[in-house]
């Protein structure tokens, strides 16, 4: 599918600039300067045209955000099919790049939920690409950070460790510091360390961001992080555990257990049935 995101601020500036230039040409070229009321009329037309442009671009942005918001609410309620339908509309339509990047990120989240990690990786890659480039926006790189961290995690889970590492190395930078992106990145780093057998690193990374992970992540992801830590501690042995850290039982309901099993089956045995 061809993605058709546009840079809303640039489009807006270009259109407003063109309209302003045309108005000036009309005022000067048609001799409106000699007729004050005609000049006022031309300026009014300029102002109204600009308001219509702002309204049109803003309305398009709002439509895309609504599709994403509706989809996120459906995802949290577990209705992934309808969520995907909304997101497909957002991805296939002509919307600002941030809106498309957001929809692609959410499609990746849906794919992770359905254990389709290949699709998830593809959507996260597209979201990173859509978020990047020259931007004039206050929240630069928001979805680049979120999608990059989730891409790193998905790659680590599927054994593409070099790509996971490359994704993580790109995450340090302004605009990519949303708390959720930082939490996802910490979890991706821990997953990468786990896959490389660096169990002490797993514990260090997860302990370093333990408060953030439990406060920022939803249940499935929080359980997965705790399970990784407990698994690493259990493999490191009693001496390390006693000297360094303790671990409480990690309770997981059926959904969280299924999620952990699908992502990192080796850590599932540390879970306790809720």
């Amino acid at each position: 599918m061809k993605l058709r995101g546009y840079n809303a601020t640039i489009v807006w500036l270009a259109v407003v600039g063109t309209v302003t230039a045309l108005t000036c040409v009309a005022i000067v070229g048609c001799g409106l300067l000699q007729r004050f009321e005609l000049m006022v009329f031309a300026l009014l037309a300029w102002a109204i045209t600009n308001l219509v442009i702002v309204w049109a671009i803003g309305g398009n942005h709002r439509k895309g955000v609504r599709l994403n918001n509706d989809a996120v609410l459906l995802i949290t309620r577990g209705d992934l099919e309808h969520a995907n339908a909304k997101l497909r509309t957002a991805v296939s339509g002509v919307f600002p790049r941030d809106v498309v990047a957001m929809a692609l990120f959410n499609q990746g989240v849906v794919a992770v939920r359905t254990r389709d990690l290949e699709t998830a990786k593809a959507r996260f890659r597209e979201s990173v690409a859509m978020s990047g480039g020259f931007r004039l926006t206050r929240a630069r790189g928001l979805y680049e950070g979120l999608s990059g961290a989730q891409l790193a995690f998905s790659c680590a889970v599927t054994g593409e460790l070099d790509e996971a590492e490359a994704c993580l190395s790109r995450l340090d930078g302004p605009g990519r510091a949303s708390p959720l992106a930082v939490a996802y990145a910490a979890r991706a780093r821990a997953t990468l360390a786990l896959k490389r057998g660096k169990l002490e690193d797993v514990v260090a990374i997860l302990d370093g961001e333990r408060a953030l992970l439990r406060n920022a992540l939803a249940q499935n992801d929080a359980v997965l992080s705790e399970a990784m830590r407990a698994y690493a501690l259990s493999r490191l042995g009693d001496a390390y555990r006693a000297a360094a850290r303790t671990t409480a039982p990690i309770y997981a309901d059926d959904l969280a257990r299924a999620y952990v099993r699908s992502m990192l089956p080796e850590v599932e045995p540390v879970l306790v049935q809720q």
Partner: protein, 272 residues
């Protein structure tokens, strides 16, 4: 006694946007009148004057957009939220109050106030949280901004405010506030915060059948979107009336009992 000074009356300055809009319009009208007068006096210079005027308008708009895009507001707010979620509330409050020192637009000021209110909520200072959320709502309603931004922020702040009122036992006000959280452009997380407030209202009213049905209805929403603290609160509420005991850290037990009241006292136990 609150654990921190979240907000001093001197921290709040009038939002800059309204003042800027008025000044920009006056300037633009003055420039137009001067340009027209010049064109009348020297007709051969008229094309040049208007070309300059057009260039000036486009350059001003472009400069405003570039300046806004270079703003560190989002990064600063993310740093506040990151510190709060890392449970470093002292740093979060200090950073947020420092942000309020800068000239902010109305919705930006409301977002910072909302972050401060969330800090107060996390610390169990619900009276302070409610007061800060009231201020945030006032700013959102009084300042010009896009309808979508207003709706998104209002619902989030109102849902959190309803929770603070409910935790304080002001259930009538909590219910009235909840009624304002159902706007079309609400952030999805506002639904989670609103459900959380509803559950606390039911628990504090002693309406345990209603509480049970609300818990069933919002189970997926809460497990998939609530943070750890709220999930523990929900687990405590779901144990009301059972002999099942939830073991949590002492500070969290204190917070859960402060939120939900005496009905959860016997179902939450503190463990180190």
């Amino acid at each position: 006694m609150a654990r921190h000074v979240y907000l001093d009356p001197g921290d709040l300055h009038p939002p800059r946007r309204r003042f800027q809009i008025v000044v920009a319009w006056i300037l633009m009208l003055a420039v137009l009148v001067v340009a027209w007068q010049l064109a009348q006096m020297e007709p051969e210079l008229a094309p040049l004057v208007f070309a300059l005027l057009a260039a000036l308008i486009v350059a001003a708009i472009a400069a405003a957009v570039v300046r806004a895009s270079r703003s560190t507001f989002t990064l600063d707010l993310q740093a506040v939220e990151l510190a709060r979620l890392r449970e470093d509330v002292v740093r979060a409050v200090a950073n947020a109050r420092a942000m309020l020192e800068k000239p902010l637009a109305g919705h930006q000021q409301a977002m910072v106030l909302s972050a401060l209110g969330s800090c107060a909520e996390d610390e169990g200072d619900f009276a302070e949280a409610a007061e800060i959320f009231v201020r945030a709502e006032g700013t959102l309603r009084a300042t010009p901004m896009s309808a979508m931004v207003r709706a998104q922020s209002l619902t989030l702040v109102a849902a959190r405010r309803a929770f603070a009122h409910a935790a304080l036992g002001d259930l009538q006000r909590a219910r009235a506030t909840l009624a304002t959280t159902r706007l079309r452009d609400a952030f999805p997380s506002a639904a989670t915060f609103a459900r959380r407030a509803e559950l606390v209202i039911s628990a504090r009213e002693g309406a345990f059948d209603r509480l049970a049905s609300e818990l069933r209805a919002s189970e997926m929403l809460l497990r998939n979107s609530a943070g750890w603290r709220d999930r523990m609160l929900v687990q405590a509420l779901s144990r009301v009336g059972t002999k099942d005991v939830l073991e949590v850290e002492p500070r969290l037990r204190e917070w859960i009992v402060a939120v939900a009241g005496p009905s959860v006292q016997d179902v939450v136990r503190a463990v180190e």
